[in-house]
C-alpha cells in the first residue's frame, strides 16, 4: 500500500506519466484517498508550468546566422575570438589569411558585361588581389543609378568578380523603401552566406517598384572580416523607362581598398 512518502518520491514521474503501469495504478489508488497528495500534484504541475512560462529574451537579430558564420570563420582564421563576438568580430580577422587581398567595386554598362540577360541592368562588384588605385574617391561621387517604372518587375544583376575562390563570403542586401525584392516582400535586409568562384559570379535580383521615390540599394560583400559596399540608386518613375544604366558608368568607377 503506497503511503505519502512513497508517492512523493516519484511525484515527478507521476506528473510526467513516466511510471510503470503498476506504480501508476498504486499512485492513483493513493491519490483517490489522499487529498493532500492530490493537492501536491496540482501544485507541482502549477510550479512546472510557471517555470516553463518564464520568458526568455530572444537573441539579437540575425544571431543564428552570425554565430554560424563566426564559427566557420574562426577556423579559417585560426583564432579564438573569445567573448568579443558582438563587439566586432571583424576586428579579429584581418590577419595573415587575407593579407594582400584587395577588394574593389565597379559598375559597368550592360554592353560591357560578360553575361547579359534581356533588359537586366547590372552593377559589378569585384574582388581582386593586389589592386591599388584611388578609385574609391571616384566611387563615392558616381553611384550607379537604375530606373524602373512603378509596379514594374525587373531584374538587376550584381556581378561579383573574384580572383580566387572565396568560401563563406557574406552578402548583405539593404533594400530601399521604394522597391521590394520579389519573394522577399516586406524584408528590407537580407543576409546570407555564399561561396564565390574564381572569376565572375552573378546575383540576379528580381525587384518591384512600389512607390515613386528615390532609394538606395546597398549591397555588401564581406569576406574574412573585410567589407566592400556597392550602392545603387533606384529611381522609380510613373512610366516605363529605358533599361540602360546611367550615362558615364562604363568602365571601372568603383573603389579599391587594401586589406591591412
Amino acid at each position: 500500500m503506497m503511503n505519502c512518502t512513497d508517492f512523493q518520491n516519484h511525484i515527478d514521474e507521476y506528473c510526467r506519466a513516466d511510471l510503470s503501469p503498476e506504480v501508476a495504478a498504486d499512485s492513483e489508488v493513493h491519490l483517490a484517498s489522499c487529498s493532500e497528495c492530490a493537492r501536491a500534484v496540482d501544485a507541482h504541475n502549477i510550479f512546472l508550468a510557471s517555470l516553463k512560462a518564464m520568458p526568455v529574451d530572444g537573441p539579437s537579430e540575425g544571431f543564428a546566422i552570425r554565430a554560424l558564420r563566426i564559427a566557420a570563420e574562426s577556423e579559417v582564421a585560426g583564432q579564438n575570438v573569445g567573448h568579443h563576438h558582438r563587439r566586432g568580430f571583424m576586428v579579429g580577422f584581418g590577419s595573415a589569411a587575407v593579407a594582400g587581398l584587395a577588394l574593389w567595386v565597379v559598375a559597368i554598362s550592360p554592353q560591357q558585361m560578360p553575361v547579359t540577360s534581356g533588359s537586366s541592368e547590372m552593377a559589378r562588384v569585384g574582388v581582386v588581389t593586389n589592386v591599388a588605385t584611388n578609385a574609391d574617391k571616384r566611387a563615392d561621387k558616381r553611384i550607379p543609378e537604375f530606373s524602373i517604372a512603378l509596379n514594374e518587375q525587373r531584374d538587376i544583376k550584381l556581378a561579383f568578380f573574384s580572383s580566387e575562390d572565396l568560401k563563406g563570403a557574406t552578402i548583405t542586401l539593404q533594400m530601399p523603401e521604394n522597391v521590394a525584392l520579389v519573394g522577399y516582400e516586406g524584408q528590407r535586409k537580407l543576409v546570407w552566406k555564399t561561396n564565390l568562384a574564381k572569376g565572375d559570379n552573378t546575383l540576379r535580383l528580381p525587384i518591384m517598384a512600389t512607390s515613386v521615390t528615390g532609394g538606395l540599394l546597398v549591397a555588401n560583400i564581406e569576406y574574412m572580416g573585410k567589407v566592400k559596399t556597392l550602392r545603387v540608386n533606384l529611381s522609380v518613375g510613373v512610366t516605363d523607362v529605358a533599361p540602360d544604366v546611367a550615362p558615364g558608368l562604363s568602365g571601372r568607377v568603383g573603389f579599391e581598398m587594401r586589406v591591412v
Binding site: D18, A43, A71, K193
Partner: protein, 179 residues
Amino acid sequence: MKILPFPGKEPASTFETLVHPHINYLYRLAFRFCGNQEDAEDLVQDLLIKLYPKRAELEKVEKLRPWMTTSLYRMFVDGYRKKTRSPLELIDDETAFYETTVSDDFTPDMVLAEDQRINEIQAAFNRLSEDHRVLLTLHDIEGYRLVELESMLDTPVGTLKSRIHRARARMRDMLAGNR
C-alpha cells in the same frame, strides 16, 4: 560564370545543417543558465566555435540535441562560472529528498495571479545557484529524465534527484519569503 544562389537557395554546409536547427534551443538553455542575452549569446557562440572543427564527429552523433546540451553545460561549468566568479555549489545531501513530506512541497494556496506568480518565479529562479538553475532548466523545463541527465551530466540519479529537490526547496523558501 557562377550564378550565385539567393538566400536560402544554397545548400547549407554540413555543420550548418546539423547545428542550425538547434541554435534557438541552445540559446534558450544558455539564457536560462546565464540569465541574460549577452552571456547567453557568448556561450552559444563559443560552443559553435568549439564544435566547428569537430563537425565530422557531429555527423556521427545519434542524438545531437542531448549531446550538444551536454557540451553547452560543460562549457558553462568550465568557463562561465569562472567568468562570473560564482562559487561552485554542489549539494550532495541525498537524504534530503527522501525526507520530503507533503507539507514541504508547493501548495495551491501559494498560487498567485498569473503574471505576478511568473514574475516571482523568475526572480526566485534567477537567485538560485547556477547548479540549481541548470538542473531545473534541464529537468523541470526541458523535460529531460533523470536517467538521461545521469549520462549527460555524468552524475548519479540519486545525486541529481537530491539537487533538484534542494533547488525546488530553495525556490519555495524564496517564494514564501516574498509573500
